[in-house]
Symmetry: C2
Subunit: 105 residues, 2 copies
């Protein structure tokens, strides 16, 4: 753990919190911590999310360098998403939310 | 750290993530990790947030048992907010977001 200066707000904290606070983003990252996934595998764990929303979020996460998209030229074509190093580094965030949820929700 | 089953979504994770993902909530909890605060002290660290929004969020967090509100019968009356045990237990979440933000944002 790092030493946090709680006496002043930090723009990097705010940026990270806003990114993770977007609807579905935390769920998507949690699913991808289980390994590379296809679109339909992600939908299976987050069935309430629309296809359009998942598509939008995956594009955002790719742009942010949190997710890589792999296209396998098979027949039919296979597309998988996986976390980058930046994305995998979110594991402590996801696990601390999980731990708190298990204790308090 | 706990062992997380990433093969299936967890309702407690979802509930915790939705709570923390609400606009301003993560910032408010970060400020209160610095100790009990008055309304105006919180506003100082989060100046973009309106009075109404802060009032609403503090009521929510009180209802959820994350924040306690103390009224000191001085003249003029002094009101302070502080985290409960449930709220203080969010410190690992806030610190892991801070650490990720410092490295990647």
């Amino acid at each position: 753990m790092i030493s946090v200066d709680y006496s002043t707000m930090c723009p990097r904290y705010e940026a990270a919190a806003d990114l993770l606070g977007k609807k579905w983003t935390g769920r998507i990252i949690r699913v991808l911590l289980g390994g590379p996934k296809r679109f339909k595998d992600m939908k299976e764990q987050i069935p309430e999310m629309s296809d359009k929303m998942l598509t939008d979020r995956m594009k955002e996460l790719e742009t942010l360098g949190i997710v890589n998209r792999h296209v396998y030229p098979e027949m039919p074509v296979r597309i998988e998403y996986e976390l980058t190093a930046k994305g995998r580094d979110l594991q402590p965030v996801i696990e601390s939310i999980q731990a708190w949820g298990e204790q308090w929700m």
